[in-house]
Symmetry: C2
Subunit: 200 residues, 2 copies
């Protein structure tokens, strides 16, 4: 995989971010960029069917680099699209490149983009049955952010059920409970990210 | 389209239901089945990548018929899968057949299942940018349920922005604001459903 070799050559850690539409991928990445500014140099490749609003948000958050891919209808990013996007950012100067995939809990999981780690986001309002209904996506994840913890009092979500299903699919997955809106729980995710970036 | 002719021959109204994972499709259909019991004879074809838990929920709600299609990884239902499922339910005895598609805001929109109407569900926690980011899905919808209105105080969601974008994509779309959890707003949706079922 050409992209994986390119990241390795440049000493850059790449994470492919997958979730349903509206789980909070862009909010998580914006907050991560803002909170780690001065610590990690972060670039983001944004995948969307239409619009470049997410790349604009990421730039506003202060990312070292942000580029938008519009898939024009396609339901996932391809490695070739990522290769073309990588030519538009200064990869060697970045510690981390996030690839925010198209909002889709199914199709992106089957496509290797050359990443070194895969992050899945699940938000509380989506419900606690998602790992059992979309097992392929969770089985291939290295890290899971359970987002929108600030809504915990207002929705039905059996956290133990989710964690138990996810671990049955991927025993050694890292799991962090966060609210990207309030910032609660984000520090543990940052610690993991910094550690992986420095040790990969 | 064979399925469309089959529904017409049997005087049955068919609705293809599309949304992101966790928008509340199954909760909406369960409540609709329960609240309209004795009024409309409703059958449901459930599409999921894995598990038959949704068909179980729909049966528990009292549906006249419910059948599960497991797509085994596929990201949308096909007309052929629906044809096979229709042979397992008494279509002529049903007023309405709902086809609950795989949770995916992208791929299902490109596949005609032979339905007479298409229902899209968008829930408040998904965010108000979804119509502009997934225009193809909203442009092909006949009716939109904006669900989880009970969370309105707890999430950021610009209702006017959403309605304006949706109407720019599909001028004559019917829009209902509902909470399938509390039942608020469901009566207007039932009125539309009953009217369409009797007049199609």
């Amino acid at each position: 995989m050409q992209n994986r070799a390119f990241f390795a050559d440049n000493g850059t850690f790449c994470i492919n971010v997958i979730s349903s539409p509206g789980s909070g991928k862009t909010t998580i990445l914006s907050r991560t960029v803002r909170d780690l500014e001065g610590g990690l140099a972060i670039g983001v490749i944004e995948g969307d069917i239409r619009t470049d609003t997410d790349a604009q948000k990421i730039r506003a958050a202060g990312a070292a680099a942000a580029v938008q891919i519009e898939t024009k209808g396609a339901c996932h990013l391809s490695a070739e699209q990522v290769t073309r996007a990588l030519a538009q950012i200064p990869v060697a100067a970045l510690d981390v490149v996030f690839i925010e995939n198209v909002g889709n809990l199914v199709c992106p999981s089957a496509f290797d983009l050359g990443e070194q780690a895969r992050l899945v986001v699940l938000s509380l309002p989506e419900g606690d049955d998602k790992p059992i209904k979309y097992p392929g996506t969770f089985a291939r994840a290295d890290v899971l952010l359970i987002n929108k913890m600030d809504l915990a009092e207002h929705v039905d979500f059996d956290m133990e059920r989710v964690i138990s299903h996810v671990r049955s699919l991927r025993k050694d997955i890292e799991i962090f409970k966060v609210s990207a809106r309030t910032g609660d729980g984000m520090d543990a995710w940052y610690d993991w990210l910094i550690h992986k970036t420095k040790s990969h």
